[in-house]
């Protein structure tokens, strides 16, 4: 169900721009590979949760070209990302940085796993192991039954 995605795509498909176009591709394959990797982690800000590498929007095209310009100018991957964050805010990163405001987000999986594990362990341990042991009378009855079965 991607109605919203589809609707947004509909809204922003206006121009004749589509995801990475041949004329954008850099001559240097190593640089181009880096550009693709960086693009996959950058959000097309007018789209619904799409990276600029996937998006058909004009803004995504502009950003893709920008990323390549910076790379050609000799920036490192971190510098390119830093430049875009400076211009557009952290919103542009699809993988948020680790910081005070994202602490809970990043630690949540480990926290849930550890706390859940402790919880499950405690719940299983708390169960008295003697719950199913039989008292003397029942034990005798059981033995009698077993003896009868074996005899039969």
């Amino acid at each position: 169900m991607r109605y919203i995605l589809a609707l947004l795509a509909a809204l922003f498909l206006g121009g004749a721009a589509f995801a990475v176009q041949p004329d954008e591709v850099l001559k240097d394959p190593v640089l181009e590979k880096r550009a693709r990797a960086i693009s996959a982690g950058l959000r097309c800000m007018v789209c619904q949760n799409q990276s600029i590498d996937d998006s058909d929007a004009q803004l995504a095209k502009d950003l893709r070209i920008l990323v390549r310009e910076r790379l050609v100018a000799g920036d490192t991957d971190q510098q390119v990302e830093g430049y875009l964050v400076q211009r557009y805010g952290e919103f542009v990163l699809l993988k948020p940085t680790f910081g005070r405001h994202t602490m809970l987000l990043w630690l949540a999986p480990a926290l849930v796993l550890v706390l859940g594990g402790i919880g499950a362990y405690a719940a299983l341990r708390r169960r008295p192991p003697s719950a199913s042991t039989l008292d003397d009378e029942e034990q005798k009855a059981l033995e009698a039954l077993l003896k009868r079965d074996q005899g039969a």
Binding site: I4, A9, A10, P22, L104, A120, L124
Partner: protein
């Protein structure tokens, strides 16, 4: 006139649902069989009303009745008939109507299952079901009425969003909704058990087929949606960690956990409280998914305010049902008696581990999806949580789970022996390790993830096969005996093995995406581009006019290592009414692999931008999901047989009582 009758039928269904809610509930409290028997008959009447309303709307669409606002906004007289029909649920109002229709359908099936469900449980369950129906009918009638007329009626409609004019859309939402809504039955049964304060293995036995059925449909629905996005959105991706996708993945994960915990409850009378909680959470996540998709809250926090009425209403429904059921849980769960004890190393222990990992994975998706919303509301900071985050957190949780799966599936109930289990698997393990090493050697220099992932997938498939083999074959026994034993294994054992093998198949497909290759260039007629061993040559570009769109058809000739293997068309379309361009990918399937061509810009000089992908084994991703669902269905045939024989089913827990 029919439209007004449809509107009236909706209102009538609301009235009947009120009766279906109150009377059986009261009957169950006072133990009055007459009052309780009102439940099934009203459930059938509600279904009749909603089916009529849905039919009325469908007729309005098929006959292009542009005096109905909903039809005007989402249809066009020139649209093909199939998309006129699928357009009924291709919009907000219609899809909500489909939602309650499926809800009523499930209610009716529970109503008809007289022989297998105890009367009190059935009465309470139908009452809880009716409460959900009431809430959603109120929502439709007050905020999302599909039967609103428009005066004066326009001559022509605005057409359906072109991306949605596709066979995939015709099938995807109904499958997904059957899954979502199917979990409402597990939810209703859980609430009924809490209201009654009693729950046992019989309950688990009754609920399991519903969960299994809903899960199988949801699996197919998600796979269908994924494949639809793959071929329709035109850049060859199949999962985007989009919030709307996450909204369907969360109930699927919770439902998967629920399936496994219900097994423990059914077989060993343990994990009762957890199972009830999971049943509640699974449906809550389905409701949350509906809320996320329907309220527009995902696009941005602000778009929520654009249509606050609908958003607030669903939020209200969400609060009442999730809050209410959790309160009921907190109040009544301590009454439930815990049963069955087991050692940590046992099938039960493995299933607890399974639940822990799946629940954590589900929580990760949940937090990742909602965190940006919460952060923006609380601090105003805007961050994005996208695919890189989910791949980084989700995979480390799922991979160990999958690695342990074949062991868990082989462990004995109650008290297992890890060493013995490992021995039963050592042949499989050896084969997989050797095969993975060979693959690594042959693809040295390529991505390492692909061979490792394929090894994991193969471990799952062979581990499942091994489970069937070791359960039916022993050293020296003739083939005929083995075959008979294998055939006599319960269907659920076969279903389990098949579903787990399906997971393996999907894992192989996903791992193989690391081998994807792509080529991209601007082509003139006669030019070629390549991706891996495949080359395409641009043959011609022909414009074509269809009823509701015009398109440029780009014809490509496909070669493998220089030998021609066929032709394929890929289109760039312009839907005239909405002025919206779309691309139709050109896909050639070769075995389980595909070549995928997508047209980009068409230049004034007649040249076109073309991207060609080679996607080895890509079909396994969805094929695996189909195998999983088939496993679910196979297991279901086993259950249904047992459900149809209520007497032995009831006697089993009684027999197990003295042992405790």
């Amino acid at each position: 006139m029919l439209v007004e009758a449809g509107h009236f039928a909706l209102a009538l269904a609301l009235g009947l649902s009120l009766i279906q809610f109150l009377v059986p509930l009261w009957g169950a409290r006072t133990n009055d069989p007459v009052l309780m028997s009102v439940g099934p008959s009203t459930a059938l009447a509600v279904l009749a009303c909603l089916a009529f309303a849905f039919l009325a709307l469908t007729v309005a669409y098929v006959t292009s009745d542009f005096s109905v606002l909903n039809v005007v906004e989402n249809s066009h007289s020139a649209k093909p008939l199939i998309y006129k029909i699928s357009g009924v649920w291709g919009n907000h109002e219609g899809s909500m109507l489909l939602w309650v229709l499926i809800l009523a359908l499930f209610g009716a099936v529970v109503a008809l299952a007289k022989s297998s469900v105890p009367v009190r449980l059935q009465a309470n369950t139908l009452a809880v079901q009716a409460a959900i129906t009431i809430a959603f009918l109120l929502f439709i009638l007050m905020t999302s009425n599909p039967f609103v007329r428009v005066v004066p009626a326009p001559v022509e409609g605005q057409d359906l969003n072109p991306l949605l004019q596709d066979l995939g859309l015709a099938i995807h939402p109904p499958l997904l909704y059957i899954g979502y809504v199917g979990f409402s039955i597990s939810f209703a049964f859980a609430c009924a058990a809490l209201i009654d304060g009693r729950i046992d293995a019989v309950w688990a036995r009754i609920v399991r087929p519903w969960t299994l059925g809903a899960w199988a449909f949801l699996t197919l629905g998600i796979a269908m949606g994924s494949y639809w996005a793959y071929y329709e959105l035109g850049w060859g991706g199949w999962w985007f960690w989009d919030p709307v996708e996450n909204a369907s993945l969360m109930p699927w994960l919770a439902g998967t956990a629920l399936l496994h915990s219900t097994v423990v409850m059914e077989k060993r009378d343990a994990l009762k409280v957890w199972t009830i909680l999971l049943a509640i959470l699974t449906f809550s996540l389905s409701l949350l998914g509906t809320f996320l998709v329907r309220s527009g809250v995902l696009t941005s926090v602000h778009s929520f305010a654009v249509d606050p009425e609908r958003g607030s209403f669903i939020l209200g429904i969400l609060t009442i049902f999730i809050g209410g059921s959790l309160a009921l849980f907190a109040w009544r769960a301590p009454l439930l008696k815990q049963g069955g004890i087991f050692a940590p190393v046992s099938r039960e222990g493995a299933l607890v581990l399974n639940n822990l990992f799946i629940a954590t994975a589900c929580a990760t998706v949940f937090i990742g999806t909602l965190y940006p919303l919460a952060l923006e509301v609380l601090t105003g900071d805007k961050i994005s949580v996208g695919a890189p985050f989910f791949n980084f957190t989700f995979l480390p949780l799922v991979i160990p789970l999958l690695m342990l799966l074949p062991f868990g599936q082989t462990l004995a109930w109650k008290r297992g022996n890890f060493l013995g289990t490992a021995q039963r698997l050592y042949a499989v393990f050896g084969v997989v390790i050797v095969a993975t090493l060979v693959m690594l050697a042959f693809t040295a220099g390529g991505p390492v993830g692909a061979p490792l992932g394929i090894g994991l997938g193969a471990f799952l498939v062979l581990g499942s096969l091994n489970e069937i083999v070791t359960r039916s074959w022993s050293r020296g026994s003739p083939l005929s005996v083995t075959w008979r034993k294998a055939r006599n294994l319960p269907r659920s054992a076969w279903g389990t093995a098949l579903a787990h093998a399906g997971v393996g198949v999907t894992v192989i497909g996903i791992a193989a995406t690391a081998w994807d290759l792509e080529g991209m260039d601007t082509l003139k007629i006669g030019d070629r581009i390549s991706a891996g061993p495949y080359t395409v040559r641009l043959e011609r570009v022909v414009p074509r006019q269809e009823a509701n769109f015009r398109e440029d058809v780009v014809t490509l000739r496909v070669f493998r290592n220089g030998n021609e293997i066929g032709m394929v068309d890929t289109m760039k379309r312009l839907y005239v009414t909405r002025g919206m361009p779309t691309t139709e990918a050109g896909i050639v399937t070769i075995g389980l692999s595909q070549i995928y061509a997508s047209v980009g810009e068409v230049r004034p000089d007649g040249s076109i931008g073309l991207t060609l992908y080679y996607k080895p084994l890509v079909l396994l991703i969805w094929l695996g999901a189909v195998v999983m669902a088939a496993g679910g269905a196979l297991s279901l045939t086993d259950r249904r047989l047992r459900i149809a024989a209520p007497a032995p089913a009831r006697s089993i827990p009684v027999a197990s009582v003295p042992a405790e």
